[in-house]
Symmetry: C2
Subunit: 232 residues, 2 copies
DNA sequence: ATAGGACATATTGTATACAAGAAACTTGAC
DNA sequence: GTCAAGTTTCTTGTATACAATATGTCCTAT
């Protein structure tokens, strides 16, 4: 895909706002995630600098931050290249996500307060309503909130940070899972099990339920593969 | 602490080797970890540039990488400041470490191969020998190897990466508490329990043992801290 | 015709110059 | 004497110039 393609939709917005370094990073991130670049494509400092109307320096700074999140890889004296994780990497990442969720669940089950539990149930009800309406997008939003509440209630800031970071990284891949037929209902019943384990303060069960909920296995895995293959 | 203090011991080595960007990063990391800077101290770009004999540009690059690992904090238009995590943060980090280890253990118990198990037992024997000799430094080294083997055997590259990264971050703090009386023996018996759980393929038990093994380090450290704090 | 090497080009990495913002200092008023 | 506003100085952030290295091309020799 050429640079022209992705420049057009964004350039309008860019001109309106004042372009600051953070925006450059966010935009680059967005471009990579939404697939504006081919897989192993090299990100051209000069062209991007032109595009954003800045010099190479801020672009290079953004590159480094992107590299630290794993979205791009920096090969010395070669440049930075977008890293679309392959099926294997993705499975590993989902596996790690499942473990992080399990860990949060483990702690949360012991530490969640009544108000937090109430909030969680409330969000879960919103999830349920979305399922009834078969509204995958709304479910997606509330589901995210649901999980973030669990991270928060673990009261382990560092772990929470890890979970949020990886969750964000996996966002684009997670989303496509939800459109699997019947997945909404299944996900919802898993939520119920999670909530009841947390209510009961059963940390082992909460961890297991969360791990299973997030893990990519069986049909989900197959779905992920075919979807990935379809993109390229 | 002034710049002069830390410049002297390092400047000799620097002049010998060819100074490349990676070395700058490593050195800065080392300086921060070994406490060459005061806690909230601002890292002066120009002085450091002079010190390393380079311009500000590579220094700023190193700063960004340091910021991404959490060793320093970047405040826009202010500079970068060293972040010594407080007792609370450290406890949270140890807690996260415990959970990461538990996660690795959970997977490793199911996935470890015979050769890997053999290697693990072998390293564990070396640990045991170090305990007998009451050699904390050797124990420290083999203990690290022991844990790294477990991460590796989990065959979950992303999780392994997280574990290694945090382990590295906690290194300076972990080291302190090994010199506590009786800790070596206790740690060793925990190792035995971990190995036997892994041998048996008991993922739940392996996870719990590893969590406990690391968590106790965090607690010991916490005690150590409060004790130190009481003095000053 | 192909392989290998020298040259030309392009791109990254580093240094320096410049701009913009924050801290520090001076000066003046109360 | 203290506080505040204006000015100066210092520091970060950005642009540009330069150096070093990788890549691509062309020519030659086998």
């Amino acid at each position: 895909m050429s640079y022209i393609d992705f420049m057009l939709p964004l350039s309008d917005k860019r001109i309106m706002e004042n372009r600051r370094a953070d925006h450059i990073l966010d935009d680059l991130e967005q471009m990579i995630v939404t697939g504006s670049f081919a897989n192993g494509e090299r990100l051209d400092e000069i062209r991007l600098a032109d595009h954003f109307g800045v010099s190479r320096t801020p672009i290079r700074e953004a590159f480094q931050k992107l590299a630290s999140t794993g979205l791009v890889e920096h090969r010395p004296r070669r440049g930075v290249f977008v890293v679309e994780p392959g099926p294997l990497e993705l499975v590993k990442m989902f596996e790690a996500m499942a473990e992080l969720e399990a860990s949060c669940g483990h702690l949360t089950a012991k530490r969640i307060t009544e108000p937090e539990l109430d909030a969680l149930k409330q969000v879960n009800d919103l999830c349920k309503q979305a399922v009834v309406k078969n509204d995958a997008d709304r479910y997606y939003g509330y589901n995210e909130k649901f999980h973030h509440l669990i991270y928060e209630a673990a009261k382990s800031s560092y772990l929470q940070g890890l979970a949020i970071k990886l969750q964000k990284r996996l966002k684009p891949y997670r989303r496509m899972q939800l459109h699997l037929r019947g997945r909404l209902e299944q996900s919802m019943s898993e939520h119920e099990a999670i909530v009841s384990a947390l209510s009961a303060g059963d940390s082992t069960s909460a961890a297991d339920e969360l791990r299973g909920h997030v893990a990519v296995q069986g049909e989900k895995f197959h779905h992920l593969l075919t979807h990935l293959h379809a993109k390229s």
